[in-house]
Amino acid sequence: MSSESPIIRESIAQQSLDILRTRAESLALAEDVETTVETMGLLLFRLGEEWYAVPIAGVREIINDFVLTPIPRVPEFIRGVMNVRGEIVSVTDIALLMRIASDGHRFERELPAAIIVRTDLCVSALVVDEIGDIVEVARDAVEPPLATLDRSQVEFISGSVYLEGKLIGIVNLDRVLEPIGENS
């Protein structure tokens, strides 16, 4: 993995994601029988100076060049919604949510890249500064989140992993993607 990320075309990214997901699934199935090294797929992305990752199992697709429609009076980290082939998907500014300095595409309607992620409950597109490689890491290599993270950040990070001398925070999707406005 390197800081200059390869240009990922959507379809290729989608294909590789599919392959990886199938592999992840078959690995998950094999888990019980074999005692091989358990691995997990991670999709890396950059926010400002730092690199983060989302588990590949939670990634649905990667979207380039989308048009954002702001929605009034939603939490600040919701940039709005976008149209993905007829489906409306919220756009989450994950840097703002986790309070991380990013390159900032604050006032633009055209945004560079987004990762559409999903949990059991919902789907959202995370705005990132740059999309990186897909890596396979051993589950054993995942460490607890960095102790120096402040409390508000730590809940969004489920663990961290060292890759090529960089510490990568793994985003806790269940926490990032909590349905909004359910109780109000």
Partner: protein, 764 residues
């Protein structure tokens, strides 16, 4: 493995059973009225029989037992061995309810909650004569067979025995008939999961959007053709002048000119043919697409009877519960409605029904005393009007008393006395839809009408984007009229623009669109209003409600959209109107479950996503916003020079406390006195106040005397005196002014805004 399979079938069974149970429920009601209805008896017999068989297949033996008894009874009714009498209905319903319960619990042990053997016994008693005895003996034996598949056949055979005994010949015929209906069904219907239909509709709406884009492209192409024609005309002029030039002047260009001419002609021809073909294709595609849209929408349409048919039973139960005698008339059950809408109207209809039975229809005795038939009637009718469905629920009960509603609303603080007075009876009736309006002592006062009515409003207006109307004649009855869009997927909407963004407002909620002169906007008590047909309409900037930065307002006339609900109207100022059109409603996705002010989004032809505004939310926030401004204004004044102090002299406790709360809410310190003499004493003792608010008629010292005393005291005469009174005659007003009062407010025009406003003007 076995367990898993069975549960999958139980689900299928539950689906199937719902249908049969519904039909049996309806059947019982009809049978009460027409005990000789042969067709119905056969139908019910078949349904009970099917239920018995399929429940046994999935191992729900108890259901099978109950259904078995029902079948026995129906066999006897059919064969004329006994007559169906209404007294049998109760145990029938009990049996059906038990089956529903057993079906829902899907085979778990429910012997704690329900006593099946006792029910079977009761059913056996209804079935009568000796036969029931040996059957009652079968029943306990059956559950033991549950685990062994082989003996399953035996009870099936056994149940056929009683049927065969009595109708040997018709039995095989019946079987053939069953098969026929079964076959017809297989050929004509397919069970499809609703999600599948929804996904299909989603894709269809994408096709519709693509089609709109295509049409745009066709227009672009025609524009290009026009451009091309212009180029050609220009070219032919150039060519003519070129021909006039001597040959050597144009020199070697001749050939090129010739070629260019040919090329241009060719281009023109090709473009023309493309435009022609494209136009043909586009028009064909648009027909197909609109058919596709219509047909796929129809997939999700169901007759309202699917909801209505549950009401005869529930109204019967309700009437029983409240000791009323009620007849339900249903009309237009075959009117079709989107399944999504149908699911949502069930709850509001139940609320309205409940209200009608509980509070609308009087007791039989009261009805007779009022000269009405003892049996009340509720009419539930559906009909289609354009792209809407209108559902009316009319009862011939006591009606809503608008005066009682007004009085209650004033006491509850929903409206001021003046507002209540200026309301028409109709507007007053609407008050019952206010949230929480009825959840207080008022309930009893307005005889409970309105219980849960805010829920009805929420469903109909907010969820279904429909509208709600109530008309009532005291003593003659009440009619609720629900107007609901045919489908939730497509509505008409007005597109407006504010702060450079486009928003859609459902046309159903819009009263009118206006372009007003800025001079028409009047500022009253920190609020902006306009006068329209002798009514005052508050005006709010849409961008303020939505929390957007202010954009440029172009033009001298301001575009205003007025929306109205339950007697309230608000005008929203926008930057411009974009246009009105059909829009496809989409949700905000799974992440944004509920967002203030936004009901959903739509995708316009160009792929642009536009939020659809939620009108009840907008109105709520607009009112909050207006309230905040007045409060801010008051707070700002207060902050300037510390809190001002007011002395209120008033003998009526209610008025005194009312005035106190008004001033305190506006940030004043309040002192009170119960008559003029006590007030004057306080002032003379050195109480420093910024103004005195006084009533006229008080014991010991009237307001006029108090005013004279204050104004003749050199130390006190600077204090402004405001007289608040019910006296309205000119001479009295004159007397007040003569006494030296600074302001005179009559109670009939009294409201908190004029009072605060007056005091603030005088204090400064």
């Amino acid at each position: 493995m076995v367990e898993f399979d069975r549960s999958a079938f139980i689900k299928k069974f539950q689906e199937e059973a719902t249908e049969y149970l519904q039909r049996l429920n309806e059947g019982v009601i009809t049978l009460e009225a027409e005990p000789e209805n042969r067709e119905l008896i056969d139908q019910m017999l078949r349904d009970a029989h099917t239920l018995k068989g399929s429940s046994r297949m999935v191992g729900l033996i108890e259901i099978s037992d109950v259904a078995h008894r029902l079948e026995d009874i129906m066999v006897k009714v059919r064969d004329g061995d006994m007559r169906y009498v209404p007294e049998m209905s109760d145990v029938f319903f009990e049996a059906l309810d038990t089956i529903v319960f057993l079906s829902d619990s899907a085979g778990t042990d429910v012997s704690e909650q329900t006593d099946i053997p006792a029910l079977l016994e009761r059913l056996a008693v209804v079935a009568g004569n000796g036969k029931s005895d040996d059957e009652a003996e079968d029943a306990p034996a059956e559950p033991e067979e549950e685990k062994s598949p082989a003996p399953t056949k035996q009870p099936v055979g056994a149940e056929k025995k009683p049927a065969n005994k009595s109708v040997k010949k018709s039995s095989p015929k019946k079987a053939v008939h069953d098969e026929e209906t079964l076959q017809t069904r297989v050929q004509h219907t397919v069970r499809v999961r609703t999600e599948q239909v929804d996904r299909l509709l989603n894709l269809v709406s994408e096709v519709v959007i693509a089609q709109i884009k295509d049409e745009q492209r066709s227009r672009d192409l025609r524009g290009l053709q026009a451009l091309m024609n212009e180029t050609n005309q220009l070219w032919s002029r150039v060519r003519t002048s070129a021909a006039n030039l001597s040959t050597h002047d144009s020199g070697g260009f001749n050939e090129e000119l010739e070629m260019l001419d040919e090329l241009l002609a060719d281009q023109r021809k090709r473009l023309a043919s493309i435009v022609k073909v494209d136009a043909e294709d586009a028009s064909r595609a648009s027909t197909v697409v609109s058919d596709l849209q219509e047909q796929s929408m129809a997939l999700r349409m169901l007759p309202v009877s699917t909801v209505f048919n549950t009401f005869p039973r529930s109204v019967r139960d309700l009437a029983h519960q409240f000791n009323k005698d009620v007849e339900l008339e249903i009309e237009g059950g075959d009117t079709e409605l989107d399944k999504k809408v149908l699911e949502e109207i069930n709850d509001p209809l139940i609320h309205i029904m409940r209200n009608a039975v509980d509070h609308g229809i009087e007791s039989p005795a009261e009805r007779e005393a009022a000269g009405k038939p003892a049996k009340g009637t509720i009419r539930l009718a559906a009909k289609q009007e354009g792209d809407h469905i209108v559902i009316e629920i009319a009862d011939d009960g006591a009606g809503i008393d608008p005066d009682k509603v007004r009085a209650a609303a004033v006491r509850k603080g929903y409206v001021s006395q003046t507002e209540a007075k200026s309301m028409s009876d109709r507007e007053a009736s609407y008050l019952i839809f206010e949230a929480g309006f009825s959840t207080s002592a008022i309930i009893t006062e307005i005889s409970g009408r309105g219980v849960g009515m805010d829920v009805v409003r929420e469903f109909i207006v907010e969820k279904l984007k429909g509208s709600l109307d109530v008309t009532s004649v005291l003593g003659q009855g009440t009619t609720f009229r629900l107007t609901i869009p045919l489908t939730l997927a497509i509505i008409r909407a007005l597109l407006v623009s504010t702060s450079g963004r486009t928003y859609a407002i459902p046309t159903a909620s819009i009263e009118e669109t206006l372009r007003i002169d800025p001079a028409e906007v009047i500022k009253v008590e920190g609020r902006e209003v306009i006068r329209r047909q002798r009514r005052t309409i508050p005006i709010v900037h849409l961008r303020d409600v939505l929390g957007l930065e202010s954009g440029e307002t172009s033009g001298r006339k301001l575009p205003v959209v007025t929306v109205g609900f339950s007697g309230h109207r608000i005008g929203f100022l926008v930057d411009s109107f974009v246009g009105e059109q059909q829009i496809v409603i989409k949700t905000l996705g799974t992440h944004l479950v509920r967002v203030d002010n936004v009901a959903g989004v739509t995708i316009l032809g160009a792929g642009e996503v536009v939020p659809i505004l939620n009108v009840p939310d907008l109105m709520h926030h607009a009112r909050q916003l207006a309230g905040m401004r007045t409060r801010q204004a008051a707070a700002a004044k207060k902050a300037e020079s510390g809190p001002k102090r007011i002395l209120i002299c008033e003998d009526s406790f209610t008025t005194r406390e009312l005035e106190r709360s008004i001033f305190e809410a506006a940030g004043y310190d309040v002192e009170t006195a119960t008559d003029g003499a006590l007030g004057l004493a306080k002032l003379r003792e050195g109480l420093k106040v910024d103004a005195v608010v006084t009533d006229v008629q008080m014991p010991n010292m009237t307001g006029f005397e108090l005013t004279r005393a204050i104004k003749s005291d050199s130390r006190l005469k600077v204090i402004p005196v405001i007289i608040v009174t019910s006296l309205e005659r000119e001479e009295e007003k004159a007397e007040g002014i003569e006494a030296g009062a600074d302001a005179y407010i009559t109670k009939s025009v009294f409201n908190q805004d004029t009072l605060i406003d007056t005091v603030e003007r005088l204090i400064r």
